[in-house]
Symmetry: C2
Subunit: 412 residues, 2 copies
């Protein structure tokens, strides 16, 4: 008997017929002798409807009241799933965020989960828990921010020391790269938390990043599965997200995946004085404005004693970044600011990289062979990322997917 | 400075524009220096939508989970009204049933309100409270049954010792009779709890009967007002529902109103043996089946030593009543059961009646003058009711409305 948390997103909960399917899937696990807690999202579209009500009532809505309004979506699906489970003979009970309670910080609309009490965990009864919501210390409803239900599921799994947290989504697992770009992309059987964080944050939108971070911290084994498969022996296995110790040596030989992210913008400051401390005058004001700088390249110095500095910021923060820098133009001393949003970050991800120094070299050579110019480079322990012109995105992903032996035929 | 509870129904809360109107109306009272608590219903149509979800999930839904689902409707409007109030500079905070808490019995879907804690009552802040919901002793959401928000409002008013409980509805007060039947019906300035109970339970559907009973028990002064009037000096005054001691002698001279109720069915048992105890054999099994019998007429005995017994039951219980009686046919000894749903109960209501013996006589004469046949009669301290054929409903109401001097011209 295992203890399992099952999490179903808005698409799986959209309407009574789908909720009944979810109930049958849960019954399948209960019948197998497992103890199950379920975390659910609101019906798809419902949270948007409720958020729009709040915005319409006042663009400057009080986040404490916003939380009261939007948390109702998951409350409804929790009650309905409990009814649907009872209807097929599975004892079930809904437990709202304030009932468990799921303690959170008081940062309304983007609260962080703290302690979760577990007195509600009962043998032989499925607990149905609304995702995305909790209770602040002053007894008010909080929500975790959009997509927070994944995080709720992982937090509940950690609290009850679950053997597994199964996240049912509208994809059936994590792939070596975006299958829309590379039809021969393979579904991964296992991926480490660190790899998943890189894959999720650079484009493979399967799980909320925060939930993966929490799973890593708490050591929760997370499985990503398709909610559209019928449960049973023919069910397609999903992808397990686990700690590095669960990855064996053979798996470690491989690069895990290729990610791409079109959500970065490149900024270049022309002719920054080439003297100690110059770089600090650029990045300190950006940090003060909470603008996240990713890749940084300092170009070769000009003869004139100045240098060009290039870096990337998230697309959504570009306007603000330009504003901050222009106001510091005299302090920094650059002559011109140019920016470019037609860029893509391509990342090669894999825990094996730590012992494979040639990974980066192969990446640069593969891209150079196709005439793809590299605008910036950044590396971490488990990834190498390059910035290229966005026109080459698909070509670069395909070339690298093949170069690292990730294509389905190669993997047989 | 008065302490006021304001209650707004589903029509008043249907959409953000209307919620903004409600907020302005509340601001009007706050600006006048009053301390205000507000009780709200769900947006009209929302509770039906949620109830249908539960039915669709399982016709035999668990009422505990039904309560979790349907209570969300009022949760949403509470949060939105708090936002709308804040947007026009009125400090406001929503307080859900479990937060106050509003303690209730554990009869899910039809709970009774017990104690309401009042620590949430704060000077200078409007408390927005969802109607219809509360908290059971075992920490689960309960609801009061349809229309329960009126009862919530009265209970909150009693708890905080409010000077007044203003119920905003889509009618602008309580009338001497149904204005659709008698255009010259007058709006009453005052009506006693007892009269309101009779008027409500026999057809003037303005307030939920249970809320009037609670107001009477707790001595809460209730005002019924139109939610569509603009607040201000030109606002039409509503109807105050008060204790008898607030009704002066002049008002006491009058009959208060004429009510009609098409929701009764007449049952006649033919040739019941005319012996002691025979009537008990009829009504005991009906009482055992919780079928409410209203008017009873025992006809003149036949020569054969038998008698016909006629009575009324609520239309909705007729089929069950017939079933119960047919199963007891031998014990009771009747030869035939006939029933008739084409009947209406007409009631003349007024606290003045206790000192006016002629009221009943005038009623019988007025109806006889128009050739309206009386099928059954019942009286209470403050009303006289007769059963007539439904074809005469409007005629009877108009004749009596005139006979008792209730027409608008007479009242000038």
């Amino acid at each position: 008997m295992a203890r399992i948390v099952m999490k179903f997103g808005g698409t799986s909960m959209a309407g009574i017929e789908r909720i009944r399917n979810v109930a049958r899937r849960i019954k399948h696990e209960v019948d197998a002798g497992h103890q199950v807690a379920v975390v659910v999202s609101a019906m798809s579209g419902e949270t948007d409807r409720l958020v729009n009500f709040c915005r319409e009532a006042s663009p400057l809505y009080d986040p404490r009241e916003y939380d009261v309004v939007v948390a109702s979506g998951e409350q409804v699906t929790s009650g309905l799933l409990a009814i649907a489970l009872q209807a097929i003979g599975v004892p079930a009970r809904s437990w709202l965020g304030w009932q468990l309670p799921i303690h959170t910080s008081d940062a309304h609309a983007s609260a962080r989960i703290g302690e979760i009490e577990t007195a509600w965990l009962k043998d032989g009864e499925v607990a149905v828990i609304p995702g995305f919501q909790g209770l602040t210390e002053d007894n008010r409803i909080s929500t975790l921010g959009r997509g927070g239900s994944d995080t709720s599921a992982v937090a509940v799994a950690a609290a009850i020391k679950a053997d597994r947290c199964d996240i049912y989504t509208d994809v059936d697992g994590v792939y070596t790269t975006d299958p829309r770009i590379v039809p021969r992309a393979r579904k991964l059987k296992k991926v480490t938390y660190e790899e998943m964080l890189e894959l999720a944050s650079v484009g493979a939108k399967v799980l909320q990043t925060r939930s993966v971070g929490l799973a890593m911290k708490e050591g929760v084994r997370v499985q990503v599965l398709s909610s559209f498969d019928e449960p049973g022996p023919n069910e397609t296995p999903g992808t397990m997200i686990v700690g590095e110790q669960e990855i064996d040596d053979v798996e470690r030989q491989h690069i895990t995946g290729i990610a791409h992210d079109k959500n970065e913008a490149k900024v270049t400051l022309i002719a920054v004085p080439d003297r100690p401390g110059a770089v600090a005058t650029i990045f300190s004001p950006l940090a003060d404005a909470s603008i996240n700088v990713d890749m940084i390249v300092q170009n070769v110095a000009h003869d004139t004693g100045s240098t060009d500095v290039t870096f990337t910021v998230p697309m959504a923060e570009l306007t603000r970044a330009i504003d901050v820098l222009e106001r510091q133009r005299e302090t920094i001393g650059f002559t011109k600011l140019v920016h470019d949003t037609a860029v893509t970050k391509i990342s090669v991800v894999g825990v094996g990289m730590r012992s494979h120094a040639g990974v980066a070299a192969m990446m640069f050579k593969s891209l150079a062979d196709r005439g793809i110019n590299i605008l910036a480079i950044t590396t971490s322990e488990i990834k190498v990322s390059v910035l290229i012109h966005e026109d080459y995105t698909e070509l670069a992903v395909r070339v690298l997917h093949t170069a690292y032996g990730l294509d389905a035929e190669d993997a047989a």
